[in-house]
């Protein structure tokens, strides 16, 4: 029996305001509140709310046979909480039905999976916490930013305890193979993979209302027929798309919601069911392993990283951002950490893409800037200010390792002090209790004395350390 696996990506970045270089050092607020609020409200009204309502109805009507998966970035959730809390509620309602799976991803929709260090792991954990606190479920399947995937990333994802991951069915990786199976990661076969069927997915996302397309108009009947007519042994079809497809990329007037609504009916007629990624991973075995030495993604024709790191501007901005990462984590400053997340969104790099000057339609459609150069200038001004703020926490000329070991010692000592004071208090209380009953027990007193002296020496030591 064939099944359809739906997954929708929901993400909105915190767009930056016009940040002139005069602002560096003077103004530490970077975001274009008006624009962000306007966009998230528009999205909520046109897409998130109606689509959520429709999916909820479909689940109820089909008695739980219709299933979908969502991946909502932490940053998008934050913006919804700020500007459109009703969207979070409607997702929560969907979560209650049990037919909706939430996938894990990086909190900031960032490119952290491409650099070493534990930033990636930290962000994934942060995101899982956010999902758990809002929807009460713990994600078990991972989806990386823009479906970026490589063997190395796969390995790290297994290390974090995920059983499966979803990515792009890029042609140059699959070759003659079909994306309609479960695969596994070449470097670590414990990780199962679902690959996007980009032909069928893009039919909906990009071509649904394209009058020039020879298959226009696309009806649910015809679409399900195509799925039913795939070879019988291919038993899953992965339809992954941006959630904005419904209502924004394809406006409600094109009939996209009716299309979605009609799908389950025709699917049941042809014996096709709906499944979430984790159900598929639980039930099916991989048919083969897939080796991806260089990262792939779902962007553009090339399906690689060139949309974010294709030119020198993007690489410089990205490297500058990466270099400061360790220090931000060391600083343990909540305000810095928040900006750190917002600045990492892959979107900022996407705006700097110069690949399609001639027909930059897709890239410029989402960009708040007139040109990639403007995007770069603005981002770098913001980043310079951010770096200055981080550096003001630590001496600049000290290298990261040295700094790291020092902070670690300080932290360890602080822990030790806390632990010792606690023990000291406990013993004092014991002593007081003991003196109440049996006044003469010299051994305990002696041991308490020695403990207190060690505590004192530790405190003075840490003080000198801090001074240096």
């Amino acid at each position: 029996m064939k099944s359809i696996c739906f997954y929708f990506q929901v993400h909105q970045p915190f767009r930056l305001r016009r940040y002139r270089f005069f602002d560096i050092g003077n103004d530490h607020y970077y975001y274009d509140d008006y624009n962000n609020e306007e966009i998230i409200k528009r999205m909520a009204e046109r897409c998130y709310l109606p689509a959520n309502r429709l999916i909820l109805d479909m689940i109820r009507e089909s008695n739980g046979a219709f299933k979908v998966a969502f991946s909502i970035s932490g940053i998008a959730l934050e913006q919804m909480e700020l500007y459109a809390p009703e969207v979070v509620d409607s997702f929560r309602e969907l979560a209650k039905t049990g037919c909706v799976e939430f996938l894990a991803e990086t909190y900031a929709h960032s490119l952290a999976s491409l650099w070493s260090g534990n930033e990636f792991e930290l962000q994934v954990k942060e995101h899982a916490n956010k999902i758990q606190s809002l929807f009460g479920v713990k994600p078990t399947v991972f989806r990386n930013t823009e479906l970026i995937y490589s063997d190395e990333i796969g390995d790290r994802v297994v290390g974090m305890g995920f059983k499966g991951m979803i990515t792009e069915g890029a042609k140059h990786i699959l070759g003659w193979k079909s994306p309609n199976y479960v695969y596994c990661c070449a470097s670590n076969p414990r990780l199962k993979l679902l690959l996007k069927n980009f032909k069928l997915s893009d039919d909906v996302t990009f071509r649904f209302s394209d009058w020039g397309w020879d298959q226009f108009p696309l009806t649910a009947d015809k679409y399900v027929d195509w799925i039913a007519n795939t070879p019988p042994e291919e038993n899953i079809v992965n339809l992954f798309m941006g959630y904005e497809t419904f209502g924004e990329m394809q406006s409600a007037e094109t009939g996209i919601f009716e299309f979605l609504k009609a799908l389950p009916k025709f699917a049941t007629q042809r014996g096709i069911s709906f499944k979430t990624p984790s159900e598929i991973f639980d039930k099916q075995k991989p048919v083969d392993s897939i080796s991806v030495p260089c990262p792939i993604s779902w962007a553009d024709e090339e399906r690689d990283l060139s949309a974010w790191l294709g030119n020198e501007l993007q690489r410089e901005a990205f490297n500058k951002l990466r270099e400061i990462g360790d220090r931000v984590r060391m600083a343990k400053d909540l305000k810095l950490l928040q900006d750190w997340y917002y600045l990492q969104s892959s979107d900022h790099f996407y705006y700097m893409c110069t690949k399609y000057f001639s027909d930059g339609a897709v890239h410029s459609h989402y960009s708040p800037y007139d040109s990639p150069y403007e995007a770069f200038m603005n981002y770098m001004n913001v980043l310079s200010d951010f770096i200055d703020r981080v550096n003001s926490k630590f001496p600049v000329d000290m290298d990261n390792e040295e700094l790291d070991s020092l902070t670690q010692t300080i932290n360890a000592q602080e822990d030790l002090i806390a632990q010792l004071t606690k023990e000291n208090k406990k013993l004092k209380a014991d002593l007081a209790a003991a003196s109440g009953t049996a006044p003469k027990k010299s051994t305990t007193t002696k041991s308490t004395m020695t403990k207190t002296t060690t505590t004192k020496s530790a405190t003075t030591k840490s003080k000198t350390n801090k001074k240096s």
């Binding site: 002139r20 270089f21 005069f22 560096i24 030119n311 020198e312 501007l313 690489r315 410089e316 110069t354 000057f357 007139d370 040109s371 150069y373 403007e374 770069f376 200038m377 770098m380 001004n381 310079s384």
Partner: protein, 420 residues
């Protein structure tokens, strides 16, 4: 196909962008094998490159009948053309031009510049055109810029051949809107009479359509291009005399070029970064005002004026710059940013300039947006990858903008007016 062109400037003796554009376009057109070009100039200097077109010296063509002595004639012609041509021209005089002051051979003296009595020179040029157009056979008349429109109209009336006028600028650009009625009259008459109008950018095309009320169907945009740089220019070594970054404004210091916005942007940049110098190269009627303005902003230690630069000096200046900026208030096209990009200088241009329509790898700002301009300057001098990217990609892009392609578009216009 033979074209009779009327122009005012031609390299190497040029006063503005018109000469450069005339040269590039005719050179590009000469690559079409069946193209013959005759180019009339008020006062050629004799050292123009005539390998690909024939230059007619308006100041040697007789407009009234004279019988000069053979030796005197030869010495007066200075080899611009042969005595036989002179006699041929003389046979073609059909109009009474005796009211015009002429010299011994019956020709008119021209200054070849933009003198006080410019309208008189334009009328005289017109008279010469009446003779020249009768002396030769050609298919199409092509007038460059408003100075030569009357000549073009005259030639059209005499011969009935189609007239194409090439709008390199309008008076609305030069005067920020306060047009000179005399100039407007000439421009309007030329546009009305023309069979087709070529503009150098869509910006100018809009001006022609909305300010001169011309039918859009007869206005076509042919963007200018740039000549590949010659080896001698390539060989010029930049003379860096400072470790500081250099930001350059190069052009006439007039209202049209927006120099005051450059001074203001410089002031803003200098408030933050000390290691940068600003150069305003060129001369013009607003220069003194700009010097006072820089002094008022107290940045004269970092803001330099070079005066008028010519020939090689221009490229020496460009090559030693880190940023080139053209904040023009209204620029029909503006070839100089293309020249800067050719020698690998990152470029900032105003959105109100015609070349912004075809350039991608330059930073575009509104001329009045001083903050954005300052920000762009700061980014280029602060972030090496930005500098490098604009330098390399800019050069790559501008190397593909060739006169040859522009010439083909002009040819299509000719074919259209001739119904071929």
């Amino acid at each position: 196909m033979r074209a009779l062109m009327f122009g005012w400037e031609f390299p190497p003796h040029i006063l503005g962008g018109l000469g450069t554009a005339s040269y590039g376009l005719t050179r590009g057109m000469s690559l079409q094998s069946d193209m013959d070009i005759m180019f009339m100039l008020p006062k050629p200097w004799g050292d123009e490159d005539q390998s690909f077109l024939k230059i007619i010296s308006a100041n040697k063509v007789p407009v009234v009948y004279r019988e000069p002595d053979w030796n005197y004639l030869n010495s007066e012609l200075q080899g611009r053309f042969s005595p036989e041509d002179y006699y041929h021209f003389r046979d073609c005089i059909r109009e009474d031009n005796n009211h015009i002051g002429t010299n011994g051979i019956g020709a008119i003296e021209f200054s070849g510049r933009y003198p006080q009595n410019l309208f008189e020179e334009i009328r005289n040029y017109d008279a010469v055109a009446g003779v020249v157009c009768r002396a030769y056979d050609f298919d199409v008349i092509h007038s460059h810029d408003w100075l030569t429109y009357p000549a073009g109209i005259h030639a059209k009336h005499v011969t009935g051949k189609p007239l194409v006028i090439h709008v390199h600028a309008t008076d609305f650009d030069r005067s920020r809107g306060n047009v000179n009625p005399g100039v407007f009259n000439i421009e309007k008459a030329g546009m009305d009479e023309a069979d087709h109008i070529i503009t150098v950018s869509n910006l100018t095309r809009d001006t022609v359509i909305y300010r001169y009320h011309i039918d859009p169907a007869k206005v076509t945009t042919v963007h200018n291009a740039v000549e590949p740089i010659s080896p001698e220019i390539e060989a010029i070594q930049p003379r860096r005399n400072t470790k500081d970054k250099v930001v350059t404004f190069l052009g006439r210091i007039t209202m049209q070029k927006g120099p005051e916005y450059f001074v203001e942007a410089a002031y803003r940049v200098l408030q933050r970064t000390p290691n940068v110098r600003f150069v305003m190269a060129g001369s013009g009627d607003m220069m003194d005002k700009m010097i006072r303005h820089a002094a008022y902003r107290n940045i004269c230690d970092r803001f330099h004026f070079t005066g008028f630069l010519k020939g090689k000096e221009v490229y020496e200046m460009l090559k030693s710059s880190d940023v080139y900026i053209m904040p023009s208030v209204s620029e029909p096209f503006g070839i100089s940013p293309l020249e800067a990009m050719q020698v690998g200088v990152p470029t900032i241009i105003s959105k109100q300039s015609g070349c912004a329509e075809i350039l991608n790898n330059a930073i575009k700002v509104d001329y009045w947006d001083i903050d954005a301009m300052a920000d762009a300057i700061y980014s280029i001098i602060t972030y090496p990858s930005m500098y490098k990217f604009l330098k390399e990609e800019g050069k790559k892009e501008v190397d593909e903008i060739k006169w040859e392609y522009a010439a083909l578009k002009v040819r299509r216009v000719y074919d259209m007016v001739l119904h071929r």
